[in-house]
Amino acid sequence: MSVPGAPRGLASSGQKPIAEILHPLSAAEEPLSPGPDVTEDVRGDKEAVLTNGTPVETSSPASASSLLNRLQLDDDLEADGLDLYVSTETRDLFVTVDDPKKHVSTMETYITYRVSAKTTRIEFDLPEYCVRRRYQDFDWLRIKLEDSQPTHLIPPLPEKFVMKGVVDRFSEEFVETRMKALDKFLKRVADHPVLSFNPHLNAFLTAKDLNKRQGLALLTKVGESVKHAAGGYKLRARPAEFCAMGEYLDTFNQKLGTIDRIAQRIIKEQSEYLTELREYGTLYSSWAASEEELQRPLEGVASSVATCAGALEDLSENMSQDFLPVLREYVLYIESMKNVLRKRDQSQAEYEGRLEAAVLRRQEDRTPMPVEVEKCQDRLECFNADLKADWERWQSNKRQDFKQLLTGMADQNINHYEKCQAGWESLITLLQDKQTEDKSGETN
């Protein structure tokens, strides 16, 4: 049974007889053109371009215009020679996550998101798909990818657990932030030359009902489920280039942490400033009440101050919603990357261990090199190559993301200052008009 949306949450499935309610995880029956309750992303320019150049969908997945949007090439990326990995020319799989809806059942309440996919690949039966998925499903996908592609860096998911008392899991803000992160995650997977062909991704995008049950009980936490159990091999020396990666990750992690803390501190200070500023503005209004000639100027100042306060509030909110999540996402990314490095180390350790053992045995009784050792070597080389490729891609994405982030914040700041300026300028115009009015009155 579904109930009408809660005051602060999202639109739920609505009131319908139970027979007509679609299973939240069903696909294809759902109309491809958006219903009246499609939540449109109205953020505008700031969100227009994501990591790999995919514009955020603002219209129905089925419409031609949205496809055209996606195929439009971003000037920036074309010019960037290093960003081969994110070139849109050869992309043939497009994915989007949007339209969050709350589902209430007797057992639990949860949110589902619409996951749309468009593709020309032959691995997919249809050119378009539309399914509903919940966070659990994304988590399942990620674990499956990690298990089946241990040599690759899997993009991170937003935090799984939220403290029930602290954060409202159904607030618009939280759901919006999470949804954007899920969208990013899926897009990154879809853009990855290897991961995007993973059958689990295919299932995720197309299946009516993800058959997750069988895998669930056996799954361990991300990072601990290493397919190739190293079995006690210890790595002696990590090659220099991977060492450098490790060091970079550690330092970068630290810096991100510091920036996060500073940003939070700024938000807090700004909020306190905002409180004082608002009160300050109202004092001008109360003064205006006891004045005659000065009433308009004082009211004018009060309203200009209020404008600035409003603009600052928007700015702080944007910082919370756009800036901090990206920082945190990269912290998670760093964690993932470190895990992959560790797995690589183990693969190397295993190979070296076996090799050593085999060499010793050959010395003893001329036993030829077992096939196992060669397989290990192959695996290791594969791993190294994959990792290096992923590393480059990740670096490139990171550069893009942060440039976008910082200039986005710059835009918002400029916007904020422009609003403040406009507030004050209108006051000056008001007062100067009055002055000329008075002057002409005097001469009469």
Binding site: I259, I262, E269, L283, M319, Y417, E425
Partner: protein
């Protein structure tokens, strides 16, 4: 109206070189009806620290201010030419803050119907955390110098006050001035606090306009002081916001060290964060001037209220002397007719001990007549005093109101201009300057 005592202030930089102080502010005033300022240029050019013994013979540090005056016609005629140029050297003397206070006290007592311009604050109040409350702080001294000059300008351009002899002595006679001011005996004429307070509570008929004005002065005082306090809190918080941004500077620099392509951009961003964090000091320093303008009117409110209370006092004294006259006349009547209308001890003793002899009654009647005559003179005097005060005070209060409206309106405009300047996009600087890949993005960067 030409003779309305308004000032046109023009600040000229050129003349400041000729004067002794580097930080002097030369104000040339041309205005009709202000006799003093027509004759001379006044400015408070410098401040200096001195040490000396105070009243209890202890060593103390204090600041003195250099007042420079120059007769206008001397400037025009080129009399007493200085060796360097055409302008003659100004006369100058040093004054302490306490001497300004003395002058002001004198003016308050001597002109109780004028809203006397206030002095800058004695101690720094409404401070936000970075500003010290130290009277010796150079910024405080500088602002006080400006405030003292402003005080002198206002007094010297006032139609009534500018003609005062004591003011002239203050400006020209360094050592003899105090003697002159004490000779006026103004301190004895000062209204006692008790009398003034008593008047406030017991006066019966006050002029409605004055009551309204008094009420307004309360409002003005309350609003300006609240505003000043709130502004100090806002300044404090804003300071915090800017300074925390400075932390970004360091972390961006550190981060830039581990990056290849992004390194330059991040380094640049870091520097600009530092610059941003540092900019708040100047911004808030400029705002202090606005705060000083508000403070002036906060103190002006007190001066306005003083005029209203003087009215209450004169009215009260008139009522008291009228009442006194009435009761004396009543006594006369009782004596004359022998009819006792009201209770009196004399009446009672008469009843108890018998009436007094006719000669005694004659003597007393004569005395009462004399007292009544005196009383009538007093009432006439008080009435005149009261009416004169009402008339003159009303004129000056009107003048004050116009001045206040004009000054505060200008102050608000300048405040708005200041805000615009400080949020100007031009203030922001570039980041990622070499990054042509980001061409659609604006080439400015603002701190987060």
């Amino acid at each position: 109206m030409a003779e309305n005592g308004r000032q046109e202030l023009v600040i000229t930089d050129a003349e400041s070189e000729q004067l002794a102080g580097e930080r002097s502010l030369n104000i040339v005033v041309a205005e009709q009806g202000c006799s003093l300022l027509r004759r001379m240029e006044i400015c408070v050019a410098e401040a200096e620290k001195r040490s000396g013994k105070n009243a209890v013979n202890m060593q103390e540090m204090f600041t003195v201010y250099l007042i420079e005056t120059r007769p206008m016609d001397a400037v025009a005629e080129g009399r007493n030419p200085a060796p360097e140029g055409r302008n003659p050297a100004p006369d100058s003397l040093w004054r302490r803050y306490s001497e300004f206070e003395l002058l002001r006290s004198y003016l308050i007592v001597t002109y109780p119907y004028i809203v006397i311009p206030p002095l800058p604050e004695k101690r720094a109040e409404f401070v936000w955390h970075k500003l010290t409350a130290d009277n010796m702080d150079p910024d405080f001294v500088e602002r006080r110098r400006v405030g003292l000059e402003n005080f002198l300008m206002r007094v010297a351009s006032h139609q009534v006050l500018s003609n005062d002899k004591i003011l002239y002595h203050f400006l020209t006679d360094e050592h003899g001035w105090k003697e002159v001011v004490f000779e006026t005996g103004f301190q004895a004429k000062a209204d006692s606090r008790l009398r003034a307070l008593s008047a406030t509570f017991r006066v019966r008929n006050t002029n409605k306009r004055f009551m309204d004005m008094k009420h307004y002065s309360d409002e003005l005082q309350s609003h300006t002081s609240q505003l000043l306090r709130a502004r100090a809190r806002v300044a404090d918080r804003l300071y915090g916001v800017f300074k925390v941004h400075g932390n970004y500077g360091r972390v961006f620099s550190e981060w830039s060290a581990i990056e290849r392509e992004m390194g330059d951009g991040l380094q640049s961003a870091g520097h600009h964060m530092d610059a941003y964090a540092a900019s708040i000091d100047d911004i808030l320093e400029e705002e202090e001037h606005y705060a000083d303008q508000l403070k002036e009117y906060l103190f002006y409110a007190e001066a306005l209220r003083a005029v209203c209370r003087k009215h209450e006092l004169t009215q009260y004294e008139l009522e008291v002397s009228s009442q006194d006259l009435i009761s004396k006349k009543q006594q006369r009547e009782e004596l004359a007719t022998g009819v006792v209308r009201s209770f009196s001890f004399k009446g009672m003793t008469n009843k108890l001990f018998g009436q007094e002899a006719p000669e005694q009654r004659e003597a007393r009647l004569k005395l009462i007549e004399e007292l009544i005559a005196e009383g009538e003179d007093t009432v006439k005097e008080k009435t005149a005093e009261c009416e004169e005060h009402v008339e003159k005070a009303w004129v000056d209060m009107q003048r004050f109101e116009e001045q206040k409206d004009k000054d505060l309106r200008e102050a608000l405009i300048h405040y708005a201009v200041l805000q615009i300047r400080n949020t100007s996009v031009e203030q922001c600087q570039r980041v990622f300057p070499q990054d042509v890949k980001l061409k659609p993005y604006p080439k400015v960067f603002l701190p987060l």
